[in-house]
């Protein structure tokens, strides 16, 4: 962006373009810049707007034959997840060690002591882009998404 502006000014200095043309080119470059910033801002706003984590499960028979079967529909506010995650900082050190050990046994190399509030915010922001859509052979579906 800044390089393009410099090029335009260099061309003007070298009398390759007129002042009117330079002005037009600079205004085009500025409008392009503001458009890309707006797009980035709206993307962040969309992520911040996501309010609920939804889990929808439909059994195969529910989808196939006139509403018979099991159906699970869970809606969890993102604020509740955020508050719930804060509980991890309240765990006593012994309990944290136990959790870390249990995770390590399962092959997950994750230390709860390293989990900071910034990491949680990042995790929740990434969660807003989550979308899981599983369709089974019998027609059952599992959907996990953020709305």
């Amino acid at each position: 962006m800044a390089d393009n502006k410099k090029k335009v000014l260099e061309m003007l200095a070298q009398n390759k373009i007129s002042t009117d043309e330079a002005y037009r080119l600079l205004s085009v470059l500025e409008s392009e810049g503001s458009t890309s910033e707006d797009t980035a801002k709206s993307g962040t706003a969309a992520r911040m707007k996501s309010k609920y984590l939804r889990v929808c499960i439909l059994s195969g028979s529910e989808r196939g034959h006139g509403g018979k079967g099991d159906r699970v529909n869970v809606r969890v506010p993102m604020a509740l997840i955020r508050s719930g995650m804060k509980f991890t900082s309240l765990l006593p050190p012994e309990a944290r060690d136990k959790v870390t050990g249990a995770l390590h046994e399962k092959g997950i190399d994750f230390d709860m002591r390293n989990l900071k509030p910034e990491d949680m915010d990042e995790l929740l922001e990434a969660l807003s882009e989550l979308e899981v859509d599983v369709a089974g052979s019998d027609g059952e579906t599992v959907k996990v998404f953020v709305e």
């Binding site: 018979k68 079967g69 099991d70 809606r75 509740l80 508050s83 509980f87 309240l90």
Partner: protein, 92 residues
């Protein structure tokens, strides 16, 4: 700060019978205040007992976190429907 939920709707239906409840959560705060006043002597004793052990800070954190979780519950909904049963919980 989130607005706390005002009502909780609980509906449970079994094969033969079921029931539905509207729980006025907005009444919980005055009830909690009343319970706090009644239990204040016990709370005072426990504070004095646990003060030297450094539990004060943790207890305050837990109290704050529980309050925050309660405030974040607005919009929470669980809806499980089966052939012969149904469980519905919603915080409004």
């Amino acid at each position: 700060m989130n607005r706390p939920p005002m009502l909780m709707h609980v509906k449970i239906r079994g094969e033969r019978r079921g029931f539905g409840l509207w729980l006025p959560l907005f009444l919980l705060l005055p009830l909690a205040l009343a319970a706090f006043i009644i239990l204040s002597p016990l709370i005072l004793i426990s504070i004095l007992v646990f003060w030297p052990r450094g539990w004060r800070k943790r207890a305050l954190h837990i109290f704050g976190a529980v309050f925050e979780v309660f405030n974040s519950m607005r919009g929470f909904q669980v809806d499980i429907q089966g052939d012969h049963h149904c469980i519905y919980i919603s915080a409004i």
